[in-house]
Symmetry: C2
Subunit: 177 residues, 2 copies
């Protein structure tokens, strides 16, 4: 995304444009916003955000404003950016990808001492339990909009399913937790 061509937005860049519909934001703000609002089902890093922003600035999809305090540099959506976002979101979303290293460890579990496997499982179970609690907290605090509610609902169901998986294994025949 250097020259200026439309060049098919990627989902990460498109999401940044999505957030910029709510008003100008700096890279820093976008990182925080994205992590809070889509971070649970779309991973991204700070350096990616800056890269996409400068790429999109080069392509004319966003425009950098004056630097403010602490060098904050706000980006705002251009008309071209708005169109690019609209074109992106009108396309059918692709299939999801999950990459779950723990499941690899489980699949090759025959190569792991049972107590070590149990340790791994316990650690991960804890992470998921905390994530579920966090989601429940957000639910209790009240949800922004119906769309945010829908994605939160996904997270709740996902984490519950994962916890049930852990507990089912512990109760069953894999050495666990």
């Amino acid at each position: 995304m250097a020259g200026g061509r439309p060049a098919e937005l990627n989902a990460t860049a498109a999401s940044l444009l999505g957030f910029l519909h709510e008003g100008p934001m700096t890279g820093w703000d976008l990182v925080a916003t994205a992590q809070r609002r889509i971070g649970d089902f779309w991973s991204l890093t700070q350096s990616q955000v800056y890269r996409e922003l400068s790429g999109m600035a080069g392509a004319g999809l966003v425009e950098a404003g004056e630097r403010g305090a602490r060098d904050r540099r706000p980006y705002r959506l251009t008309e071209a950016g708005r169109r690019a976002f609209a074109a992106w979101i009108a396309r059918p979303p692709g299939p999801e990808t999950i990459r779950f290293p723990l499941l690899l460890t489980v699949l090759f579990g025959g190569h792991v001492p049972p107590e070590r496997l149990a340790e791994f499982m316990a650690t991960h179970r804890k992470v998921h339990a905390e994530r579920l609690e966090e989601y429940e907290r957000r639910l209790a605090e009240g949800v922004p909009d119906r769309y945010g509610a829908a994605t939160l609902d996904f997270g709740l169901r996902y984490e519950r399913a994962v916890l049930e998986w852990f507990d089912g294994l512990a109760a069953g025949d894999l050495p666990l937790c």
Copy 2:
């Protein structure tokens, strides 16, 4: 992974080594095996497999045998490969990453005409329903080992949770299915 150093295996390469414990295999076979056994929670492509194989061959973790019919080139695990795999699997597995484009579309659902969103949801629901059926078929056909059973169980629970999410939304307040 060019030189010869141990150089920290990645999960994809390590999984290939894991499969090679069951005997020598060609790149082609490894692609098929990996897609069947870990493809549901660890995506990989053909060209990645060949790249990792030649990298690992350079690092001495696998050795290519004589080319057979149809240019088939079997790779077998070396002692160094066995050790590298053991070192990899002894490390605590990292956190999982989910990247679910449909959820992005849902989060930005305000920018999508309701009937189009419903169309996307219906398409994805169908994919997940079919995946669940496929997993149930595998379960009915009988499972290879307890570890494979555990990962299959995860898949079943995941797909059921996703379907319940779709159906919950359809019954609730998002325009759907």
